[in-house]
């Protein structure tokens, strides 16, 4: 309420109005006062003149005789009664009688302006200072005529104090009569101006609130005029603004959620290379914290030169720039593909750039695995083939070969071809496994049978190598849903591997058990073990810890790969614990068939 009186618009609007009202009142007042004042003067003069005429009749008999004290007394009494001063003057100017003064002490009045005017025109008026009464006075004089001869004058006068008193009361009356309407008009004007200003102030407030982001503001101005229309328009605008902002906020949140959920890192910078956005993935890859990085130069917050180069160059050259950077970490390299794109603003000027960080480490890893695989498979197939061809060519060329050599060659050809056949069948098994579960027939099966069977067939190999092979299975069936053939491959591979890499006098222990609803098969050996840095790779196809030794032992390099694939195809897992020189333990975990209750575990089979 107070604020309204500080409104400039109110005062601008009101000032003109007030000035008009006040000026009108003043002009009207002045005109009225002047008019009334003139009326007052005229009234007094008229009454003085009437008095003079009355007194002339009284004075007529005395004007041409010697001064008479009785006459003087009479005039004095008359003056005392009416409050008007009367002076009777002889034609030669001598004062014969006066209602205020002793006539004998008074000057000759022939030279007084009113007397002179009365002598000439029959009526004289004058307003001047009277020494007799020491005040501004008005005088009216008329001649006294006797038979057509001027024989004296009668003069009446009143002090202007009386006139002023009358004027003052007239002014006061007029002022009083003007003040009330003026005040009313001013007040009404104020109310009117407020009526215009108040809604304007409210609308300004509302507009400010909207600008400050408070979009629930609503104006309550119920007017049907233009101001009401403006308020209505403002309300509509606010509402639309709010819905627009809501839409934009929703869009923004969606975009942010998408960015946050992306696996790829995204960093956006403005024209001055200040960070505008960095999503979670980018923060993880570049090791930055968006909270401190925002608004700072990209090259200040992270130390990967390629990223700031990519951003800077894409902006300078105005093109998409794709590059790759290797970020070495103690374990392996992280290979990041950088795609930097310049950002343009509405007027198609470059306004910044965005870089997408795509972790292609796995892709590169896969590529190298595939390359290795093709190279390996060619090599593995070629070695026995070369041997067979050499042997066969020798047999053909050398017709006179002795029987023993001939037989030995044939035997070698058989060995090599069986190695080839093993390799191909392993490859087929692998591809069957890799092509998904469709290649497998899942049936309930007892893992104990597989383990016992496998150990029996491998027993001979173990004994030949003087490796002690022992196995332990539970008393009750260990039933899983599985492909019997694939499971046999799994156990065979693990056991034969263990025997192969265990030197004479060592031990291989196969242990089957149930644990928390899963079957656990552990094959432990006391062999050469696998160094830690190789452990993650032994399940890769054709990967060999010691290439020469493995081939010499007749392995295809696919065994553990098959183990892993079988386990995965059965929804299980395989892990490895090993230390170089201290043997290895492979542990396969498979889900039990639901409903087959596991029981207490037994001893040796």
């Amino acid at each position: 309420v107070k604020r309204i009186f500080r409104s400039r618009f109110l005062w601008e609007l009101y000032a003109g109005y007030a000035v008009i009202i006040l000026a009108t009142a003043i002009v009207v007042g002045i005109v009225l006062v002047r008019d009334a004042e003139r009326g007052v003067s005229d009234d007094i003069r008229d009454s003085l003149q009437r008095d003079a005429v009355l007194v002339r009749d009284i004075a007529a008999p005395f004007v041409d005789v010697a001064p008479d004290s009785a006459f003087q007394q009479r005039i004095r009494a008359l003056g005392a009664r009416t409050g008007v001063r009367y002076t009777v003057i002889a034609a030669d100017g001598r004062v014969l009688a006066d209602s205020r003064e002793n006539p004998a002490a008074m000057d000759n009045h022939r030279d007084r302006p009113e007397i002179m005017a009365a002598a000439n025109n029959g009526l004289g008026t004058s307003t001047r200072f009277s020494r007799t009464v020491s005040a501004q006075s008005m005088y009216v004089a008329i001649p006294v005529m006797k038979k057509g001869v001027l024989s004296g004058f009668v003069r009446t006068s009143a002090t202007l104090e009386a006139i002023d008193a009358r004027r003052a009361s007239v002014r006061k009356g007029i002022a009083l009569a003007l003040v009330l309407p003026v005040l009313t008009a001013l007040l009404l004007g104020l109310l009117l101006a407020r009526g215009f200003t108040q809604p304007l102030i409210e609308m300004t407030d509302a507009a400010r609130a909207v600008a400050a982001g408070e979009h629930n503001h609503r104006l309550h101005i119920s007017r049907t005029d233009e101001i009401g229309g403006l308020a209505e328009a403002l309300n509509t605008m606010t509402q639309q603004l709010r819905s627009q902002i809501d839409i934009m906020a929703a869009d923004r949140n969606k975009t942010l959620a998408i960015l946050a959920g992306m696996v790829e890192g995204v960093v956006a910078v403005d024209r001055e290379e200040r960070v505008v956005h960095a999503n979670a993935a980018a923060q993880a890859i570049l090791g930055i914290d968006a909270r401190t990085a925002l608004g700072r130069r990209i090259w200040e917050v992270m130390r990967v030169v390629e990223v700031s180069d990519a951003l800077g160059e894409s902006m300078r050259q105005n093109r998409v720039r794709v590059s790759e950077v290797r970020l070495p970490t103690p374990k392996k390299d992280q290979v990041i593909q950088l795609t930097a794109t310049p950002l343009r603003n509405g007027s198609d000027q470059i306004d910044g750039a965005v870089v997408v960080l795509h972790d292609v480490s796995e892709l590169r890893q896969l590529e190298s695995v595939r390359r290795d695989f093709v190279a390996n498979i060619s090599h593995e197939l070629k070695t026995p083939l070369t041997a067979i061809r050499g042997l066969v060519e020798t047999l053909i060329d050398d017709g006179a070969m002795d029987r023993d050599t001939h037989d030995r060659f044939i035997e070698k050809i058989r060995d090599q071809s069986s190695r080839l056949s093993n390799l191909v069948s392993d490859l087929l098994t692998l591809s069957r496994l890799e092509s998904g579960p469709g290649g497998l027939r899942f049936e309930p099966m007892d893992l104990r049978d597989t383990v016992i069977e496998s150990c029996r067939t491998q027993l001979h190999a173990a004994e030949t190598k003087r490796v002690e092979l022992s196995s332990a299975v539970p008393d009750s069936p260990v039933t899983i849903e599985g492909d019997a053939e694939a499971m046999r491959e799994l156990v065979d591979n693990l056991v034969s591997n263990a025997i192969k890499y265990t030197p004479s006098g060592g031990r291989v222990n196969v242990h089957l058990a149930t644990e928390n609803g899963s079957a656990v098969l552990e094959v432990a050996d006391t062999g050469i073990g696998i160094p830690p840095e190789e452990q993650s790779r032994v399940f890769e196809r054709f990967y060999r810890v010691d290439k020469a030794r493995s081939r010499q032992m007749g392995g295809t390099g696919l065994g553990l790969s098959i183990v892993k694939h079988v386990a995965l195809a059965h929804g299980g897992s395989v892990s490895l614990k090993s230390a170089a020189g201290r043997g290895s333990t492979f542990r396969v975990q498979l889900g039990l068939k639901p409903g087959s209750a596991p029981r207490r575990e037994g001893n040796r089979a």
């Binding site: 290379e273 130069r297 090259w299 200040e300 992270m302 130390r303 990967v304 030169v305 700031s308 290797r326 070495p328 970490t329 103690p330 392996k332 390299d333």
Partner: protein, 217 residues
Amino acid sequence: MTKHLQIDLDELSKELLTMGAMVEEATNRAINALVRRDRSLASEVIAVDDAVNDHENRIEDHALKMLALHQPVAADLRYIITVLKVNNDLERIGDHAVAIAERALVLSRLEPVPLPEDFDKLVTVVQRMLKDSLTALIERDAGMARAVCEMDDEVDRVHRLMYAAMQDVMRNDINSIEPAVNTISATRHLERIGDLATNIAEDIVFMVEGEILRHNY
């Protein structure tokens, strides 16, 4: 301060930080090449050294031009002087990174010798020092720079332990002399990188506080 000077200072900061990033990356790569016996990584470090040297020249050129052109005073002058000094130190760190990468190349051909556990510690501390000294430069954080200076004692201590450990290795196995000597050489370069990071940190304290810290640590 004139606008042109400010623009030039920004540009200089960017160049120096790029240089810092290049050197830090080269150091990290050299260390990883050594630990992982990765020849390709080592070759990359050696290949990038020319770019580092070019960059050093460019920064020096730029800084000298700014001194001649703007004749800066007080904080700006200290900053440009610091840039010149840090630039020099960074280039030498780059050289040490190359030296480590060369040792890594040699070592990758030899039988591996077991690296003592202290080696990891040395690597961690040196990497941290380099990283923090550059961060302190960006943030103009004298406190952080002082912390880097303190870390150098740890580097020296671990470095001495490494010597002893390698001597043991050599005493036990004649064949391991060559790899052990190369390892010691690499360690020595690491220790030097720590020293240079300390120099950078001291320069930063000078830049921020105007106090010369050199030879106090």
